[in-house]
Structures are given as structure tokens and as C-alpha cells.
Amino acid sequence: MTIATSLEDACAALAAEPNSVIVAGGTDLMVEVNRGSRCVENVVALDRIPELADWHLTGDELRFGAGVTFAEICEPEIAALVPALAQAARTVGSPQIRNAATLGGNIATASPAGDSIPVLAALDAVLELRSTEAIREVPVTEFITGVKATCLMPGELIEAVRVPVLDGPQEFCKVGTRNAMVISVASLALLVDRSARRIRVALGSVSPIPLRASEAEDHASGHLDWDSGVQPGPEVVREFAELVAGSANPIDDHRGSAAYRRHAVRVLAERSLTRVLNRVSSP
């Protein structure tokens, strides 16, 4: 067990034992360990590395250390810059979980139900991966390659997550069978990017990998009159929602059926687009 206090230490420990398990908040890892479904030999703990817990804003870009917790992301300072990420963070587990669980951990776990993933996908977030050998950058949509599978190499860790600060309203909605502290059955992030004149949409829990609904994005972006602020009619919203639902690739499991998940993202798409349009048109 290595309790790293610097990135260099952590990377050195990982280089020495490339199959080490990385622990940050431990909220996913310990569930697996306690269940006996994961046997841990070597552990490298990242929670005492100061630079991982930092975030800062440079121009229009936010850079989160991978160890920033969901409790911190819920704070107003961050919520003002990436409101959808803060909304997603608020739906993660309980307050105790949010105090420990980290943004980097949520990405590394790569669960299709990871609450931050749709927002990060919609933001085109870029991950900085570090090893003793190199630092490389990978978009989050490429980083996650399957259910709980990533392209993280032995010896590598997630150092930071970079996202743009967009001009425009944002929404994150999540369906679960409980009003709080629930694993997502379906979720959706919808962001307005005024400068690029784009609507960005990504879905959660309806696909093994992060899913951008690009056809729906094109449709909505194309039907918005970005200069006048005059909004498209309900048929455009409905078509948008259908395209979103069509892009989903859900499964049946004990948390929900594929049909319900597809239905749910359609409803979320319709509602969240309506919400942002109401705000886009208001001054």
C-alpha cells in the first residue's frame, strides 16, 4: 500500500507495481472489495496528493484535479461555471458519499450509470493521464471503452479533467426509482453553447459507453434562431426528443427495462430542451 503525497510518488509506485489498484474516495472500490468481487493486492492511494484536490479557471477553461469531490462540485462557485455538472454531482449517492467520491474516480469506474459522465461527454471533457513516462490527453468519450472498461494503461492515473465554460443554460436530469440516493436508470445532460451555436446532448445509463446524441443535436441546433431568440415550436422539441430516444442503446436489467429507459430519455430530452429554450429566450 502506497499512500502517495505527490503525483511523482504516485506514478513511481504505479510504475513499480503496474497492476496496483488506485484508490481515491474508495466509494466504488470498497463496495467491490467488501462484496468479495475484487481482490486487491497492491494499492496506491491518491487522496493525500494536494494538486489532485485543486481546481482552477483559466480563461474559458476549467481544470479539475481528479481528486475534486462531488461535494465540492456542488458548491456555488463551481455550479456557476458548469451548472449541469453541479446538478449531476448533487445526485451522486448520499452526502457522505459526495464528501468522499471524486470526479476522477467516477470516470475511472466507467460505469454506464456514472452520474458525471453524460455531462462530461456533453462538455467534450479532456482527461490528462499521467505516468512516469508521459502525460497524454484523451477525450472522456474515448477514455471509456465499454462497461467498466477504460483505456487507462498500467502505470497511469487520471491527473485532471478539463472542460470548457460555455455560454448558455445547462440541464442535467436523472431518473431513478427513489427521490434521492439512487443509481441512475436513465440520465441526460443538455447544454447550450451560444458561441458555437450548438445544443449539446449526452445520455447516461442507456449505453455501455458515453453517448452523444449528435443527430438530435444537429436537429435542435439547426432549428434554433440564434440571432433573434425566437424559439422553435413544440414539433421541433418532439422531433428532437424522438431523435434522442432513437440514439439510446439501453438494456433490460433489475433497475429498469430497455423500453422504459428509452421512454425516459425521450421525456427528459423534451423537458430539458423546453427548460433551456425558456431560458435562452429570456434576457
Binding site: 468479495g36 427521490n179 422504459y260 421512454h263
Partner: protein, 758 residues
């Protein structure tokens, strides 16, 4: 140890006053010692190997590799059970360790003791069980024709209740089929305990349980020991709700302790706990109600099938309740109820708060609403018109002799002004933190439900509780084996002693089988009445002895003496003594308390089978996001027949907690079972209500009509809140959506795809 909140009080609380729980603050701050916190310097850790199949023959169990694991002290299998190989609450039909067959997923097959939990884990992994996998019997509706799951057959009990004239037909009839899924008690403290062997071959078992003496007798039989060689002491209980009525790790711990000669501790994981205790019976129910055009009920017909799972547990008593109370607290002159509980390879089911009454309440209340609809009547008025009153007959032909303030319960609850306004904060809308709904997506619904249940054990069971009281130096010491599982007996025992004896200081000794006879189970809403009654009587005898002693010693009239403010005073004046100095010798009394006897049901399900009944009503207001099928229960109002309030603080706690379990069953709580396998054995996926799911509970009225025979007239209050709450919430969702919703929990898909698509 921790300072208790009660120490600030100048006068200790008596009957009718708020008595804060001594374990309340320690539990909140993490200082309370639960059974999982037990420790012994020489202890070993125990673990259980469980069946991975819901039905299989065991060809062989090879423990040779497991025994060789470093640190392992014992690996035991069915052949190592020293006494009777089976246990059970009503029928001894459940193997301590599976021998030739496993009948449910998670059934214990082998047990291990080792120096360290990690060695236990490695040893369990090293045990090789050769299974011949069989096709599990999982459909309770067809099980009676299926291969026998157990040598005792697939029918555990059928009651064919026939009451009144069987030829009656109503002008108006409504029919419905209903289903209740499997609910878990979801206590927080998983099964845990420690067995400590003694040199004389006896064993001390410290365990979280509901009935020490029943456990003791079953453990002794399985260990091949005399009952006095097994001593059980209650360890810190983290909730029970029926899930600790049956044995779990008790015999396993004793076997490992005796085999190794060392103390052995075992703590189930959460997943293991889901396999390690019984659940609430899933129910399939068909009903037909007959009424006159004016709304008077004339007949109820019902077929009830409960899935008991692989072993009998308390199933036969659960089906008796479901059958006897199938029509609800209404006057029903004619009934035919066919109630059966069957055996399958599903997880075993048994006791849970509400015990058979919960399932039928969901159905009979849906029927009452349906009938009101067919008659064009107000649902509350229909209930009032048919409400039981004292002197009425139940479906069993039994006349209600005690109190039955059913109309009062209905009226006070229905008339209570609703308070909930429409939420603006998205957190308070259906979907909660997920921010899925805006106010325009939400439909509000409101509905009312009524329920009832028996108190105490029924059907001729010899139900008793023993307690003793010892008064010395002005301090009363109470001994009772009553299991405190969170219901609040620890405060009640002290309040009762203070009330009767006039003392301030009351010591309640730890619950154990060593010093006293059985208190019976902490279940059936019975301990306040039974153990409370025993303590009241024991204290009363001590009081009488004390006053007679003083009267004789000081030449005063015993009838003239009263106890007040810690002193014994003659009302006529002239004599006064401090209670602490009233006697030099301790005064003691021991009592075995029994309620009035009951009788078994006859072949038509008729007879004076029950003692007393508690009634409750709930009105639920819900907001439903119909498009997403998400529900927010925004208000629950309740009235309950309580006999008398003994501890107001705890009464509120019981009503809130019971309603929370009812809300859970209405909208989310379900043990998902597929081919006999539990798909969600975790609190990640078995969802219980959070603070955002549970509304405030408005108590419209606590109806206080003293119940004859009960201590201070108090009825047990623990179960009623969980009975009508589920039915009310489900009905409110029906009211909001216009859907039939014949099943609880109501799932999002039941609302979104009511036709059954996906």
C-alpha cells in the same frame, strides 16, 4: 460510557409522559454497542458457505483444502450438527446446514471458524460442493401440482374460512386481483453474535434476536444440550421488524464454539443478510365484494395465496392472519375466504411487521374504493357505514369484546385538514434530486385507507411473559427476558415500575435466559401488553407487600397508605417514611402474565382465535409524474386506536417508522426474485425511502379508549402504522392516474406502460 439524555430530568417520566430512550443518543453518535461490536480477546471469526442454487442435490462437500488453510480452526457440515438437524418456529423443517439438498439460494451448507476474517473467506472459497442442479419450483400458483420441494409437501397450510350464510349475493359486486411483492425488513444491523463455550460443556450465546427463550430451546435441541446448558443474552439489536424471529447464525456459532473451544463471532454482510432472514410473503389475491345498493356489505369472497418459500417459518400463523382479516375492519355477515401458504424454492418468508394483515389490507382497501366507485358513494362514507363496532362479529364468528373505535379512527383522519401545498422546489417534486419534473408535469392524488390487525398471539397459543421486581433501598430492579429491538420496552418497563411503585430509580437488568423465564417474542404488537403487564403485576405485588409490611410494623391501615414523591404517606396523617428506608429487607415478586385464552380455528375458520385488535387509518396525498411514472408522497395523515398513550414520544416514533415501511412497500421496496434468485441483495438496489421520499406524518388523532385486560389500557401500537399506509399511498396514486394499479410496489413502468408493455 455515554451520558444519557435522561440524566437531566429531575423527575423520571411515568406513564403518559415523554420518556426519551436511553439508547437514543448513543445510537446517533455511534456509541451504542451493537451485536456486531461484540469482542473477546480469544475469539475466532466465523463464516457461512451458502448455496449458489435455489434447488439442487448435494452430491458431496469436500472440505479438505479448506481445513488446510492457515488460521482455520474448524470447517463443519451437516453431519457435524450434534443434535436435531432441523429447526423452525412452528415446524422443525429447516436444516441447520443443508445435507442432501439445498432448497433456496443462500441456504447454509458449511461453516468455518478461523483466526481472521480473511482466513474465513479463503476457507469458504476452498470448500468444494458438488451440486446436481435441479429446476427450482418458483410459481406459487401452480406449486401444489409440482414436485415436492420438501418431504412435508408444498402446502404449508390452507384455511377455508366460511362465515355466515353462503348463499347470499349482493346487488352490487366488484371483483379484483391483487398482488403484493416480497418486502424485506431492511433492518440496519446485520445478523451477528458471539458464542462463548464454558468448561462445563454449556454455552453462552450473545445475539441480536426477538425471542431469547424460543431461540434457546431450538439451539439446545440442535446442539443436543439441555436447555439450561445454553444461555442466551440479548446483544445490541439494530432493528428487527420480524426478521429476527427465526434462527440465523445461532446454532452455527454454538457448533463452532464447541468444536474449537474458543469464543466465535460472526457478522453477516449485507448481501448475506438478505439471504439470512425471512421476508414478507408475496401475495396473490382474488376478491369479490358484494353489497346492497345502499352500500351495506353483504359478502366477501377471496382466494389468497402466499409464497412461503422453502421453509415453513411462521407461515402458518401469517396465513391465519391474512385469512381472518381478509375483509378488513368491516361488518361482513357472509364470507368465504380460501387462504393458502405454499412452499417454493424462493427465499423463505415469515414474520414482518403487519404479519399477513399488510397484504390483505392492500387488497380489501382497493376493493372498498372500487365498490365506492360502483355505488357512486364517497369512499370514506362507505367505510364509515360498514365500520366494525364493539359487539360485531369478525369473519371468524368471534365477537369483538374489547374496544373498537373504528368510526372514530376514520372520522378523525378523514376530517383532518390537509396541509400540503404544491411544491416549487424541484427537490420536492417527483424525481427529487434528479430534477426530472416541473410543476406542470405533476398530478396530485389523494386517498384513504383503513386497516386492522390482532394484538398478541392467537389460535390457542399459550402466550405468556414472566417478569420479576425487586425493591431495595428505594430502587426497583426489573428482570425480564423481553427483547428490546427498538420498540421502546426499556423506557416502558421503567415508566411502569415508577408509576406503580412511586420510585424514581428503576434498573432494568439485561435480557437473558439465565435469570428468568420466557417473555415471549417481541412481535405481534405484544410486549407492551404482555411484558408490560407482567411488570405491572410484579410491581403491584411488591407494592402490596411493602404497604402490608409497613402497616403491620407501624400499626397503620395498609389501605390508608399511598406512595408519593418517593415517600410512603398515611392519608389520615401521622405516618410518613422515605421509600428508600421503608424496608431493610428487599421485597420481591415474580409473575407469569397471561392474556385471556384463545381457541384454535375450526375446519370452517371459525372460533375465538384472537384477543384484541388495533385499528388505524391513513390518508395519503401524492404527486405523480405520470409521464415518467415517478411518485412523491407529499403528505400522510393518520389516526390510530392506541388504547392509551404510555410514552407520547415513542408513540410518534412508531407511527412514523411504521408508515415509512408502508410507504416503502407502496412505491419502491421489493426483493426481486428470478428463478429463486435474489437480484438486488444490497441497499444499493433494495431501495428504502430516504428523507426526500418520506413525507411528514400528521397525526390527526390517537384514539384513547382503555382496552380491558391491557396494562393501563394500552394496546400495542407497532404494527398498525405499517398496514393501512401502503394501501393509502397506492390508492392515492390510483386517484392521481386513474389506473388500476393492482400491485405494490407501484413501479414506474406500471404507470408509464399500464397495459403491461415492458
Amino acid at each position: 460510557m455515554t451520558d444519557l439524555a435522561t440524566s437531566e430530568r429531575t423527575v423520571a417520566p411515568r406513564i403518559g409522559e415523554n420518556a426519551p430512550r436511553p439508547d437514543g443518543v448513543p445510537k446517533v453518535v455511534g456509541a451504542f454497542a451493537f451485536s456486531s461490536d461484540l469482542h473477546h480477546d480469544r475469539m475466532l471469526w466465523g463464516g457461512t458457505l451458502r448455496s449458489t442454487h435455489s434447488s439442487a442435490r448435494i452430491r458431496s462437500v469436500d472440505v479438505s483444502t479448506a481445513v488446510a488453510v492457515t488460521g482455520v480452526h474448524a470447517v463443519l457440515v451437516s453431519d457435524d450438527v450434534p443434535g436435531q438437524k432441523v429447526f423452525g418456529l412452528e415446524y422443525r423443517d429447516q436444516p441447520v446446514l443443508a445435507g442432501d439438498v439445498v432448497r433456496y439460494e443462500g441456504e447454509p451448507v458449511a461453516i468455518v471458524a478461523a483466526d481472521h476474517p480473511e482466513a474465513v473467506r479463503m476457507a469458504l472459497e476452498a470448500i468444494v460442493v458438488d451440486y446436481e442442479v435441479l429446476v427450482p419450483v418458483v410459481d406459487p400458483m401452480t406449486v401444489e401440482e409440482a414436485e415436492p420441494v420438501h418431504p412435508d409437501g408444498n402446502l404449508v397450510r390452507r384455511i377455508h374460512l366460511r362465515h355466515g350464510n353462503q348463499d347470499v349475493v349482493g346487488d352490487v359486486q366488484v371483483e379484483g386481483t391483487y398482488e403484493v411483492a416480497m418486502q424485506d425488513q431492511a433492518f440496519l444491523g446485520p445478523e451477528s453474535g458471539m458464542a462463548v463455550p464454558a468448561d462445563d460443556g454449556s454455552i453462552d450465546l450473545y445475539v441480536a434476536t426477538q425471542w431469547l427463550h424460543s431461540d434457546r430451546d431450538q439451539v439446545a435441541d440442535c446442539m443436543g444440550l439441555d436447555p439450561e446448558k445454553v444461555r442466551l443474552t440479548l446483544a445490541g439489536v439494530g432493528g428487527a421488524f420480524g426478521a429476527r424471529e427465526d434462527l440465523s447464525l445461532h446454532v452455527h456459532l454454538c457448533m463452532l464454539a464447541r468444536h474449537t473451544g474458543r469464543p466465535v463471532k460472526m457478522v453477516y454482510s449485507r448481501e448475506e443478510s438478505f439471504h439470512g432472514h425471512v421476508h414478507r410473503h408475496p401475495a396473490q389475491m382474488w376478491y369479490r365484494h358484494h353489497a346492497d345498493r345502499d352500500g351495506t356489505l353483504v359478502r366477501v369472497e377471496a382466494h389468497l395465496i402466499l409464497d412461503g418459500g422453502a421453509y415453513a417459518s411462521s407461515s402458518s400463523a401469517v396465513i391465519a392472519n391474512a385469512t381472518c382479516f381478509a375483509a378488513g375492519p368491516y361488518r361482513v355477515p357472509s364470507a368465504e375466504i380460501d387462504g393458502a401458504v405454499v412452499r417454493t424454492n424462493n427465499p423463505p418468508c415469515g414474520a414482518m411487521r403487519g404479519f399477513g394483515a399488510v397484504q390483505v389490507c392492500f387488497a380489501h382497501e382497493a376493493q372498498m374504493d372500487r365498490l365506492a366507485g360502483a355505488l357512486g358513494m364517497d369512499p370514506v362514507a362507505l367505510r364509515l357505514q360498514n365500520a366494525l363496532v364493539p359487539g360485531d362479529e369478525l369473519l371468524t364468528g368471534q365477537t369483538i369484546k374489547g374496544t373498537a373505535p373504528v368510526a372514530e379512527v376514520i372520522r378523525t383522519c378523514a376530517d383532518h385538514p390537509p396541509g400540503a401545498s404544491m411544491a416549487v422546489d424541484p427537490l420536492e417534486l417527483p424525481g427529487g434530486a434528479g430534477r426530472t419534473a416541473d410543476p406542470e408535469h405533476v398530478v396530485r392524488g389523494e386517498a384513504f385507507a383503513l386497516g386492522f390487525k390482532n394484538l398478541l398471539f392467537s389460535e390457542g397459543f399459550d402466550d405468556f411473559s414472566e417478569a420479576s421486581c425487586r425493591l431495595a433501598g428505594g430502587v426497583a430492579t426489573i428482570t425480564s427476558a423481553c427483547a428490546e429491538v427498538g420498540q421502546g420496552f426499556v423506557t416502558l418497563a421503567q415508566q411502569i415500575a415508577r408509576e406503580v411503585l412511586g420510585v424514581d430509580e428503576v434498573v432494568l437488568l439485561p435480557a437473558s435466559t439465565a435469570g428468568i423465564g420466557s417473555a415471549g417474542s417481541t412481535s405481534a404488537s405484544r410486549q407492551t401488553w404482555m411484558s408490560g403487564g407482567a411488570i405491572q403485576e410484579a410491581c403491584g405485588q411488591v407494592r402490596a407487600q411493602l404497604l402490608e409490611h409497613l402497616a403491620a410494623e407501624h400499626g397503620v391501615d395498609a389501605d390508608d397508605l399511598v406512595i408519593a414523591d418517593g415517600r410512603v404517606v398515611s392519608m389520615a396523617g401521622g405516618f410518613e417514611v422515605d421509600l428508600a428506608k421503608a424496608t431493610t429487607e428487599p421485597i420481591e415478586a415474580s409473575v407469569v402474565f397471561r392474556h385471556v385464552p384463545t381457541l384454535p380455528l375450526d375446519e370452517n375458520g371459525q372460533g375465538n382465535a384472537h384477543v384484541s385488535f388495533a385499528f388505524s387509518a391513513h390518508r395519503a396525498i401524492v404527486d405523480v409524474d405520470v409521464e415518467l411514472g415517478l411518485v412523491k408522497v407529499v403528505e400522510l395523515t393518520t389516526s390510530q386506536d392506541v388504547g392509551r398513550v404510555l410514552n407520547p414520544l415513542q408513540t410518534v416514533g412508531q407511527l412514523e417508522g411504521g408508515a415509512a415501511q408502508g410507504v416503502g412497500l407502496a412505491v419502491m421496496e421489493e426483493v426481486l426474485v428470478q428463478e429463486g434468485r435474489i437480484r438486488n441483495p444490497s441497499f444499493t438496489d433494495y431501495l428504502v425511502p430516504t428523507a426526500l421520499d418520506m413525507p411528514p406524518v400528521e397525526i390527526a388523532a390517537l384514539i384513547e379508549q382503555a382496552e380491558p385486560g391491557a396494562p393501563f389500557g394500552a394496546k400495542g401500537i407497532g404494527e398498525a402504522p405499517s398496514i393501512s399506509s401502503t394501501a393509502a399511498v397506492a390508492a392515492a396514486i390510483r386517484n392521481a392516474t386513474g389506473l388500476d394499479l393492482p400491485r405494490v410496489p407501484v413501479r414506474p413502468t406500471d404507470i408509464v406502460f399500464p397495459g403491461g408493455t415492458a
